[in-house]
Symmetry: C3
Subunit: 659 residues, 3 copies
């Protein structure tokens, strides 16, 4: 069953408002409240001087009102007195400048001093409230990776990187081999000679860079793990979560996910649209509803990161402040996003924030309440959601999908280190693929290379640059079919070209060799003949040699008739980046090939299924016909779905919806 919550900052409001706020939350129907994640200087205003009374009081007020409390550890924002005492905890940017106090996330993950201090404050909070009756869950820190804070170039990072390299490689000669230091006289005599990969004359070895990305990712995992261990020791039985950011790929979320109980993430579709992959024309079309796929993509991703348990910790309740432009969501979108989350397997949605702050950095960030405590639009939509919740049966769980989409973080590090072409954007490619799947009405699960493949009929791998041989073996054994995007298998773990050319270990699935790659400028497109129709692709093109069936070919002056898509009984590979119509068509054919049932293109309609419940969401500007079975029983809405509207139904018998 869906539960709702809200983020609240008692320290920002007069004590006199707390009871009223808590009562209104409960009256609205909220079950959860998150507090504390930026309260360090309020808890410990001076070194070693703790001020617990207000926090005790806040827990008391909120808990007694009937709310379950999530405490966030306050480590995302160390106080000024701490920074002044230990200036080395500040992160250093790639240009070598110290990033100063005055906002948040001003710490270097490699600072041993900060690890001690973060552990100290976490222990203090966890010890005091770990078994508090109103505390039901914990959040570590806040939004790892926000504002490019994973990568620091401090002295602490330098030393930690050297240690990490020594642990990874054992001997300096093994590092020399992996990094290819026979190139450009880059040989190292010891780990102490290795430097961080910033401010170079040219690009460093890509292996140097990927190792730095891996190291930085591991630093997040170990930083987080310290807090989780402390919380678990003091607060047994309460789940621990972290609120991840949408589509951040600076660290391996699966690895951090392993250490927590629930993955949560922060849902801001308006900024996501503005900063996102779509064209200006599409952004205008979806301006106040957002990219129809980006939010669902992340729900599905974080369901995997949380190994099935996922929350939304911060749901945008109106316009916010941080994008280059901050449009309002259409009225109805807060409701739509809430149901979308639930449909995709999210069990708790917490709105950020209860009341808009009239001061400081986020004063343009909407809340459920306006700064003067009036109900804002989001509040009214939550009222509607809570009324609608009562119309749905309880206990429906998101099932396993037939299709798995592979997101591999090391592969993202690889293309970031060695993009080869300025316009190659792995995140956008994966989202394009997801979008094609969604437009065909098919549900999807995310997987990493570590994931169990049991039960999947089809694995989609848009950008698996560094395949793990074990994963390929398990995939081959699983019986699932697979569709690979270009560059898949193009690098080894050491960021080398595979010995007998790409696709390296992917050759176990499909017999071909990539003999040439091209990255193409934005003004160039390549023509691909697929079946009887011609399509344009762009950005990337490979020349491949194969004994497999050629499913599509390049046309035009350059190497006409060379294969663009190939396949056999178990796998298919694209030698370019299919988009739009070609991608839709290819995806539809791939579903048929893999025995996955799908629907004709849904346009701006999106579907999702949770247990027996079918959901439809209309991102378009006209009424859409919902593809429900004839005898479907509508619980919310009906077959004619208005823009920005949601329908929920139970199938009578097997309907037209995809599986």
């Amino acid at each position: 069953m869906l539960e709702l919550g809200v983020c609240y900052y008692p320290e920002q409001w007069p004590r006199t408002k707390w009871e009223e706020d808590a009562a209104r939350m409960v009256e609205l129907g909220l079950a959860w409240v998150r507090i504390g994640e930026f309260a360090w200087s309020h808890i410990e205003p001076k070194s070693g001087v703790f001020q617990w009374d207000w926090f005790d009081d806040a827990l008391d007020v909120l808990g007694k009102a009937g709310l379950k409390i999530i405490i966030g550890t306050p480590t995302a924002a160390p106080p000024k007195w701490l920074v002044d005492r230990y200036p080395d905890i500040l992160p250093v940017d790639a240009r070598g400048a110290v990033r100063k106090f005055g906002a948040r996330r001003h710490y270097c993950f490699s600072s041993q001093r900060y690890r001690l201090e973060a552990a100290r404050i976490t222990e203090a909070v966890a010890q005091r409230y770990g078994k508090h009756p109103f505390v039901h869950a914990w959040q570590t820190d806040n939004e790892y990776g926000d504002h490019d804070t994973i990568h620091s170039y401090s002295r602490a990072a330098l030393h930690a990187f050297r240690e990490w390299l020594a642990a990874r490689y054992g001997t300096i000669e093994e590092l020399n081999r992996a990094w290819g230091t026979t190139f450009w006289s880059m040989h190292y005599n010891s780990f102490d000679e290795v430097d961080l990969p910033n401010n170079l004359v040219e690009e460093p070895s890509p292996t140097h860079l990927v190792d730095y990305f891996r190291f930085s990712s591991d630093q997040v995992k170990s930083f987080n793990k310290v807090q989780v261990d402390i919380i678990r020791r003091h607060s047994p039985g309460r789940p621990v979560t972290h609120n991840f950011m949408s589509q951040n790929t600076d660290f391996d979320h699966y690895k951090v996910g392993e250490d927590i109980d629930i993955a949560s993430w922060d849902v801001y579709p308006m900024g996501g649209l503005i900063n996102g992959r779509l064209s200006a024309e599409e952004k205008q079309r979806y301006l106040r509803v957002g990219d129809p796929d980006q939010t669902a993509f992340n729900h599905d991703l974080y369901r995997a990161v949380g190994r099935g348990r996922a929350w939304v910790m911060e749901q945008q309740p109106g316009p916010v402040n941080w994008a280059s432009h901050n449009q309002s969501p259409a009225d109805g979108m807060v409701r739509l996003w809430t149901w979308l989350a639930y449909a995709h397997g999210i069990d708790m949605v917490s709105y950020f924030r209860w009341r808009q702050a009239p001061f400081a950095q986020e004063q343009f960030h909407a809340g459920l309440l306006l700064p003067n405590s009036e109900e804002d639009q989001g509040y009214k939509e939550v009222v509607q959601v809570i009324a609608e919740m009562k119309l749905l049966p309880k206990g429906e769980a998101r099932g396993k999908a037939a299709v798995a989409l592979l997101l591999d973080y090391e592969s993202r590090f690889a293309t970031r280190a060695l993009p080869q072409g300025r316009d190659y954007a792995a995140s956008a490619i994966a989202l394009d693929w997801y979008s094609a799947v969604s437009r065909l009405g098919v549900d999807v699960d995310f997987i990493g290379q570590h994931s169990d493949l049991e039960g999947y009929r089809l694995v989609l791998a848009p950008d698996l640059v560094i395949p793990d041989p074990d994963f390929i073996a398990r995939l081959k054994a699983s019986g699932a079919k697979a569709l690979f995007g270009p560059r898949s298998g193009s690098k080894t773990r050491d960021m080398h070209i595979p010995a007998d050319l790409p696709p390296g270990v992917l050759g176990d699935l499909l017999d071909f060799r990539v003999t040439r790659v091209e990255s193409l400028p934005p003004f160039q497109s390549e023509t691909v003949l697929y079946g009887n129709s011609s399509h344009e692709t762009s950005t990337w093109r490979e020349t491949i040699r194969t004994t497999e069936t050629v499913l599509a070919t390049f046309q035009g002056d350059y190497r006409p008739d060379s294969p663009a898509v190939i396949g056999n009984d178990i796998a298919r590979y694209c030698a370019t980046l299919p988009r739009d119509e070609l991608l839709l068509k290819l995806m539809g054919d791939t579903f048929a090939w893999a025995g996955v049932s799908s629907l004709p293109d849904l346009g701006d309609l999106r579907l999702a299924r949770r247990g027996r419940l079918h959901f439809a969401f209309n991102y378009g500007s006209t009424v859409a016909a919902v593809p429900a079975a004839q005898n479907a029983e509508f619980l919310i809405g009906n077959r004619a779905l208005a823009p920005v509207d949601v329908a929920v139904w139970l199938d009578g018998d097997k309907g037209a919806t995809a599986e």
Copy 2:
């Protein structure tokens, strides 16, 4: 009566040329000459070693020829020996890099050492020449704010900022309250913990930033005041001016203006066009005549800054060197600009510079003479101006306008600190409003919130973000009507949202609440229905709730029929940014409402009135009909005004021109 002058650098030319130059200036008809403002290293080539003879000599030559001399204090360019002795006087940029010697303005306003040195050289010059018979006026420094030199991030700035904050807030808890440091754990225990707002991980508190802008602005005022006091002590009765830059909003010009006798400014319309608000198509159309409103806007502004007394210290005489592209003005524009200045109340126009320098940074900057002393185009146009001056009656003074345009510097600091949308550009908005007023033939005065409102029928406030309650009270009492742009009243002095929502104290004039704001990307426009016609607006949209009359409404999918413009008997408010036709129409209706007479759209023609004199200026490419009364007496030109041409006439009786 209009006087003319020129900027001259005797130190740059052989002594043998001085007499001839002076004689030619006088022969041309110039009355003023400005010298000395970059001569420090020539006056004091080594520490304490003064070289006065050449300066004495130059004053003598110029003065005896009949010229009135303005001495500029040489503090905009400290010599190298001084910088080497006190490296701390150099400014520091936001990235933390010291900005080095080798050009000009290489000093930090907060350097106490530089204040002493600037006072020392000013005293030396003022003492020697304060009562010199040929010295008739003084200029302090040169172009405060050029090349982003108001904001320095030096140690000196840090310490001065802390002192400024202590003086402003008294206690650190008051600062904590104002800055909202309960947010993100930003609490300070003492003023010594506060840092400058550069190199942060994210944006600082907007109050932190606005206070830094206020502080930086105050540093300019106090830096300037030191020199003014010294000059007044040594040179009683001679007016002191400073040559401001066009539309710089890094410091509060009214506050510096309070301390001087005459405001002057430097008129460079060609670069102003290239860097300015217009579209590429418009820039092409006006390429060699400039933005038809930007120059007049600044004349009117600096008339207010100088409390009625304003000069042009540097008038562009041909193409210059500093913009991204440096086109030539059309032949005739130097004459046009000179008359434009006079029409807008300027009493002295000084051309920059006498002769083009064949060396150093500005060798592509035209003068009245070419480097080989031949007359350049500008010289010939000055000859024409001087001939025409004789055709006009003397003693006509610019009168008070019926319309006041409010430019509030703190509001500019506010939107700079918290733009909320990348395309919100307050300077361009104010200029758009001014342009609409000008196209309707209406004269305007600039005001600040401190200004006397006596006599105005209409106050235009395009961006009054932080209204002063006293100003609102005086406005209400004044009987003037007012038109406010969006965001007006949206912040308190502490940069908070007003307690009962925006527009805060503006609510005393007009009953409404802003319940939502949006900043919109450039590809989005909103439709506004005004009367019977639809218009497009962009960039900014607010949702407001009001009991007042709704004058225009938004249309389209999002919140259709919500108010776009509202009003009552005394005030009107725009919930979006009207532009082009909508702005013209709204402005015209507002004039009618306020009882201000106006004309139909003048297109590329511009009018101005000074006493009994009416002026017309044609910025278009075809002949324009001047809207003079039937019995108007033309003193310069006639009714058919050629492109780049000027007409001046006296009304017979009340004509068609606006008041």
Copy 3:
């Protein structure tokens, strides 16, 4: 006769592959192999510890197989142990940040320590292998100027700059005069006060900047000379070369060229296209064949730099890795480029590289072999070239052209220091002129102002900003006619405007004065009437006064009928930048005037002549008719030239080709 070679890195491959690689090179028909230029850390893995055995071995294997060896000195990439011992050898960027180890070219040309170290390793290598029987040539360092490494802002550079200035000017007062330090109080009391021109508030004096560019250029010359002297001492009789980069103008290539025996350069036309002067539409058209003129331009330039002896040291053999986008060359282009080089007087073409590296920074850079040692496309094309070589007579030498194109490095420094308009791009202008010449079928030689002018009928000077009076005198005496682009003669050696206005000493050839210059924004074009036809020009316009014949005039509102092109019997001058049709027409008329025979516009066809051999190259996408004489004897190809194809023929008698 054309010889071919390849770049090889034995240190990057297992010892077991060397014999096979060497044998395949010889079997393919290669004569030369370049090794060693990034091998420092392999030769001297620790300070003073030399590891010669592998290098001895490699020379032995390659030499015995029959290859002539070029050794590159390894100074472009000092090892980490050296950088750690002497951190001051690292270069410093304009922001003041040290540019770190991890790639290549991480040294400051002004570091005295690095000069010693570079001399030490060069001496060690030259001493050991100077008289080695298989060593036939030397290359100094690698690609001076790559990644903006000419300009360093280190302490070493500062001190060296002061010494250079003292040597240039003798007294500080002479520097003050030249730099115009009476401007902006910039006076210096001693050379020790002078600083490097980075991180200023505004631009420094242009003379300051040009002197810094001259200094930096001289540092390259003296750095290189040290190595050349050492090599000559130890390896008499073997030619020394350096592999220059395409169109780098950060240092005076003629001056470095004086000290070596052969100029070589590195040919990468695909990145050259992507980064180059053409419009997006043109780039799409030539995507996989490259700019039809840029490569030939550089062949002709480096033939001049090498005083007649020029090699290609690195020829792109397929797609590479370093441009923003990296498309593949069309199949056939490697052959075309090889023949193009030969046609333009290149005697040796060496491909970069033998085998694609599967690791490190350039793993996306193609070789003749794929990483798995399979033959890549380039290899196959070399096979064809070698077969075709046998069809051509030996001993044909490139003759002297009738037309000389002047490229003056100091003039490039001048416009870089003082561009006056953002879009003025001297490199693109010179290439535009070259392109017009080439489209009219005319061969060209490059000259500097130092060059002998004997035998030229026409000198083209697109951007001779700083003419040397001696050059102008020699030009006048030579009997050659001359065509000058705008800005020619506009600055003196001190970067001043000439005393009696531009064109200064050019006035000895043509009587005119430039009284005004304009730089124009990209949205503006000016109309020029030339003969009976109107054309558009852009970017730059001058007003000139002249007694010479006016060949073309400006039209439009601004100064209509003012001269756009003028001329007399010996010289012509353009007061704007002719492009496209106007440039072609003007160039054609200029050829006729100078008695140089030319052809009608060749479109995408290009011709070249080497001795009796005529070459044609088709950069278009359709078959082109080769303008060979009727009785021409085709040695390669025929009259109907396919896209990407090459034809070579001998004239029967005098044919239609240009001379």
